[in-house]
Symmetry: C2
Subunit: 334 residues, 2 copies
């Protein structure tokens, strides 16, 4: 057994080489999984399209980590007009990209709040020069109808700051980052965030999310990944490897992140809600066996913004209603 | 959009057919994953064997759902003599078995508590006639040294009841199940469980675990799986499928289950602690970069049963000690 520090350090390096290999294996498994399940997701989409409110009901039963961020007014939009949901691993075959990147595409019908038929949010899995790894995104423009913005201007302000930063970076002499906080769009967004009440923040503000840490560009990530691959090769040969430079925090970004839990929520949607959607949909009907034949879908045109329950909306009975029984877990699957 | 109950029911069936296909895909992915990672786990075992206390340190950093069940006296055994840990998907190529079944094999050195060099606990993924699915196990005999049983006789009593049930089933005229609660071994185990304080239950009692629901035999599972496959075929053809008969609860079993969270813990060990072991091991050294060269492994022969910390034991500094800093998360991986 290695007991001296040098040997322990050498073992550390050996473990890191192994971690690299596990990482490669994981990417390969993700690709195989994608190939195996993509046709099934396509079939599922075809069935779901024939089921009224399928995705709204899935969101109603979704894991609490996501559910807690869905306000009654968000639920109402989902139950009124959410028609499709689709996750795509859009970089799966891109040697410069990552199988961990994904896009979340919502399809909507006509509604009173926004003009968009599709809201697509992309998440890129990237690596920073300092070794941070995670998902980054770009604010998505939502074309809100007048007076109907559920986020109180947050997504608009996030998009404006994003565009202003891009413009500043294009015209700046390498000092764009330092200047972000002096942009008027920065101050405008800061003000919006300060005004907002986080407790009732609309789920739609998630479309403005950028990063839980800081934005990492495709160029930075490519360079950092190439440098890491070089280190991996060295480690494999047992050569000494220089540590990555420490990552600098980006307070400018963190103060203007409109949706701090955005990455966590995206991950749960992609890795739990999406693959388990049938289970969540079915759980809305659990305990309904006898009543399923009485199933009635009621229309409603209630415009109020009070506590809503999609299941109540689409089936005429609510999980929160006094007469509604809580569905018993009939079967356990591990 | 289907709005009438009959159509909704038909969609339900279509979704169930899809769920079956997703289930097949998942098993295939498990097999591919096993093939890809098995050689890496073998390499990891070789490196870990050269690192003192590797697995004890992994257990020290393990997820809280497991950690909360590890008593100071258990930690002490791990740090003294836990040498290897191995998860095997022992039914991965068995057409009658499941890739979800696994064995957890602990390798121990000489110690004051028990004679065993290996304690192996197998978990079979099984299906009951009533559609329950989950992991079942059999009590593992631990050869405790005199007066050194950390479970206060629980594992012995669980093994005795198990053997008595087997014997009764062999000699009984089909009524073995109803008779379980009349066995003296049943009453003996009930008494042991009542006497025990759950809060300080040793992790080693986990070796006595049978099922979170009830024991399901290989024969029952095979028959239930065959019946389910028939239903799947019918569903695929759009034929009407009879529901499975409801599962009967088994109070007799539940009252004598020595380790109710056993399945959950086994799953976390197999799906988190085991694949992420390097990460957990490394996290014991996080924040240690400068101190790593001062790393010292101290021997100890403290026999007391007070609050212990393996990291403290093996490195001479504790995470609970006043001078010990909590390791900062340096890098995030998603």
């Amino acid at each position: 057994m290695a007991e001296n520090p040098e040997e322990v350090l050498a073992r550390f390096e050996e473990l890191t080489v192994l971690e690299d290999e596990f990482d490669d294996a994981e990417l390969q498994i993700l690709r195989q999984q994608n190939a195996l399940t993509s046709p099934l997701y396509a079939k599922r989409a075809a069935v779901a399209a024939k089921i009224p409110h399928f995705w709204a009901l899935v969101f109603e039963q979704c894991p609490p980590e996501v559910d807690q961020h869905i306000q009654p007014s968000d639920s109402k939009v989902f139950s009124e007009c959410l028609e499709t949901l689709e996750i795509t691993r859009f970089e799966i075959d891109d040697p410069k990209g990552s199988p961990r990147s994904f896009s979340v595409k919502f399809g909507f019908g006509l509604n009173e709040h926004f003009e968009d038929k599709v809201l697509e949010k992309k998440f890129w899995f990237r690596r920073s020069q300092g070794g941070w790894m995670g998902l980054v995104s770009e604010p998505v423009k939502i074309h809100w109808k007048k007076g109907k913005d559920l986020t109180g201007g947050l997504t608009d302000a996030a998009v404006k700051l994003w565009d202003a930063k891009l413009k500043a970076a294009g015209s700046a002499n390498g000092d764009a980052k330092a200047k972000a906080s002096s942009l008027p769009e920065y101050k405008a967004l800061m003000k919006k965030i300060e005004q907002g009440e986080e407790a009732s923040l609309s789920f739609f503000a998630w479309f403005g999310f950028v990063s839980s840490w800081r934005y990492v560009s495709a160029e930075e990530s490519e360079a950092a990944t190439a440098a890491e691959l070089e280190r991996r090769e060295k480690r494999k040969k047992g050569e000494k490897v220089e540590d990555e430079p420490e990552d600098e925090p980006d307070n400018d970004h963190q103060q203007t992140e409109v949706y701090p839990p955005g990455e966590e929520i995206a991950t749960i949607i992609a890795e739990d809600l999406w693959p388990q959607a049938i289970k969540y949909y079915k759980s809305t009907h659990e305990g309904d066996d006898e009543e399923l034949s009485d199933l009635e879908v009621e229309d409603y045109d209630d415009d109020s913004d009070e506590e809503l329950d999609i299941r109540g909306l689409v089936q005429g009975k609510g999980k929160n209603s006094k007469s509604g029984e809580s569905p018993p877990a009939k079967k356990r699957k591990t």
